[in-house]
Symmetry: C3
């Protein structure tokens, strides 16, 4: 698959001169791009790599100071990252999908309804009373239990498991191996054993959510665990029972939300971060990677550390901690000096 440089320039709304007919075969970093690839530069930190790149052309954030490089062509844009995303889309190869219809090794319950255009892959299973929307793509061995409703244009990759009574919106993508609707983790010690607290609630995934691989989203104790529209979840994330994730959140890999935690709109959780049970993070707040939040977080605030503090305070403490070993020595000296001073009296 190759495109001409002018096709790319047109897409980005950038003029391109004599080299318009040059053939471009893909996208790569400045260092690794071959003379038929296009690259990009979004910050001056990598400007040195521009000097020596072999890329046919480079998408460049406007106003960056560039070194000379006569072997490549600059394509200045307002937002280099967004421009690169557009170009990547141009080169994106199609995802292999099962053909339209139900594979002969798949099972669809007679009481289930599957809309037009759906692709139900080998070994997949759709249980009683399920409703599957238009153009659904269920790859290999996807398991949909009973009473599940799935909107239009969803895509579930191999081995996705959707337990009973779950509701999924339109255009939801779930990557391989994720499990929705496992019982929430709830027990009561009854004097002899951990007695199971029944988890009779459901899971609701709103429109335009994307969920990575090996993600676990648990069923509510009662009512619903909810992931708001447009939220994106990375791999290996744990979402406990009754968690409420607002719209347009970003949850990075291996983060965990304990039971009944709630995120407002546009909250960002860094990789391996943790949100305590029943904690609320306000709209637009951020939790740094590897941090754990134990108290409610104000809207738009950034918190970090274990336990998480306002990020500035956290940085101040870290800076002070760097000085702590010396501080211990200094205090010892001060004590000695003070003692001396006293004795002199």
């Amino acid at each position: 698959m190759s495109k001409t440089l002018s096709e790319i320039a047109d897409l980005l709304n950038v003029p391109v001169g004599a080299s318009a007919s040059k053939s471009i075969t893909g996208v790569n970093s400045l260092a690794d791009a071959s003379p038929t690839e296009i690259s990009f530069l979004s910050s001056e930190a990598h400007a040195h790599a521009f000097k020596t790149t072999s890329a046919a052309a480079v998408i460049v954030q406007k106003k960056l100071k560039l070194p000379e490089n006569p072997n490549t062509i600059s394509l200045p844009v307002d937002d280099a990252d967004l421009a690169v995303a557009k170009v990547l889309e141009l080169f994106a190869p199609p995802i292999p999908r099962p053909p339209v219809g139900v594979h002969h090794t798949a099972f669809v319950a007679p009481s289930a309804s599957v809309a037009d255009g759906a692709r139900i892959g080998p070994g997949s299973f759709i249980g009683d009373n399920c409703i599957v929307g238009k153009n659904a793509v269920l790859h290999h061995n996807v398991y949909i239990s009973s009473d599940v409703s799935i909107g239009d244009d969803c895509e579930f990759f191999p081995n996705v498991v959707i337990r009973e009574r779950i509701s999924i919106g339109h255009r939801v993508v779930i990557h391989a191996g994720s499990v929705l609707g496992t019982d929430g983790f709830g027990y009561r010690w009854d004097g002899l054993k951990h007695a199971k607290v029944p988890q009779i609630g459901i899971v609701i995934i709103e429109d335009d959510v994307e969920i990575g691989s090996c993600v676990c989203i648990d069923r509510a104790k009662f009512a619903a665990t909810r992931v708001g529209r447009g939220t994106k979840i990375d791999n290996l994330v744990q979402i406990g029972h009754n968690v409420q994730v607002g719209p347009h959140c970003i949850i990075v890999g291996q983060a965990g939300l304990a039971g009944s935690a709630t995120l407002g709109a546009g909250v960002v959780l860094g990789g391996q971060s943790a949100v305590r049970d029943h904690i609320h993070m306000g709209d637009g707040s951020m939790l740094a990677a590897c941090s754990g939040v134990m108290e409610d977080v104000d809207p738009k605030s950034i918190v970090s550390g274990l336990p998480a503090l306002p990020h500035r305070q956290s940085l101040r403490e870290q800076a002070a901690l760097r000085r702590l070993p010396n501080l211990v020595v200094e205090v010892r000296k001060l004590k000695e000096e003070l003692e001396e001073l006293r004795n002199q009296k």
Copy 2:
């Protein structure tokens, strides 16, 4: 599905007056309950929500001070959480299961023995010499390798993988996507490469264990990795080779136990916590969420932090750490003042 209020009151052994015939359709929080739902109040922290709830009735922890609410009925009990668990059970819809028998797309080795009442779902596999107990439920695409023994009344959800020579007790529940019996992670550098240390041991899961989704429990290097009876394990937990988990432990999501760690009886590991290899945690000890224990832990003690310390010490250090940036300033001032004092002499 609906129940009368008197059915619920009888279950909880609580008198209920004129409203006994009221129809109840489910359980919900005080804030969200509709006039046909029942709710609960187990601590005074949420008493304000009692005032405005629309719930038909509220299960209330005895001795709580309640605000007035003429629109609802109080059901006072000794243990509100336990009472709620009972009521949830009343409303729990049945789990969809494959029918009794072996699905025509499943495979059971001729040398395997499957007891009466077993339900073997589509695409499931039971290998040579396996013994599967009464009423086993193997949902969709469960894989049981060879020489595995499974007790009575077990339930394994879709895509569970049980590798060879594993022994599983009675009433064990394993949620979707979990893997038991992967080789322990053991290598020796032989000068050229990481040579694999064979992992020839097994895994033993005792009675009444429940295991969440995407949990990994590794096979022992030799002898057995063991999970004690009644222990409950949340999602995405890692249990390394030769780990010994005692009875009635609680292991919360994304926790990890490194090789040969041992937990006594009733140990609790918080979410995302970690136990170092060869470490022992005594009976009834607790490790806080996001904490990592590097040394043996005494019975009944609570430890937290990274590295984990006795919880009180940990809290004291955290409190001191909050004051550290100011302490740095104070010490600087003290130095100056002391210097001044000396110079005055």
Copy 3:
């Protein structure tokens, strides 16, 4: 399965006397070994257990001081751990595998090429244009999408998912439930929503890599995510898009590498550790368990903590932190004493 003591002694190149014909049935710890098992002692820390072991024989690290034990035979070796690995290999039972050929419930695309000796298990799927090398073992329900190339002598356990256009070397082992080639986690806020940045790159797994269970290795944004030859990855590890893992690295369970992180040769990541995006860890460097690295790491250095610091500095800070609560008190006293001293003037 049993071996004679002389078979074991020959393997280790150790003389054995009159008991050469003794029958040995397995390997166990000093404490648990029965009179027909062999055990080992690699450090003096466990020498006390030697005294009371019932093991038929004990592989012993040369030069260790041993207590008396007339009931067992010592087999002194230069490297006890390596010797144990050899003996474990002797006792390793064979892994149950599907028979050579393609199971009748598996699917191999007509355009795919599968070399001699391959074992394609029940429900497995090999898509268009795939190339699968000699003696491949695809256990139950392995999914290989299109345009994947797999070298000779690979073994993939149940439910492994290999997405499109991935390249896998020779002798690669992937344990159950792992997913290679999920889209990298990349979005751009476009003012209304998180617009997906297409992830059009691939994943390259070099020769002799072993990957644990429920591991996620994401596809590159462009070019390739790469895992170098001989690297070993434990369970539940997250490897982000465009990560470059060097040869012979060790990545312990639940560790995570964010996008574009790079590891040199022989890097070790402890359990639950995290590497920030775009960070480089030099050859032979080590990141301690539960630690998170935020800055480039020099070759051969050891770092620990959150954020990770040179290990010695980290230990020094931890030691100082243990004294911090007292330090706060001391500084308060110093202030008071200084004040007093001043007032006396």
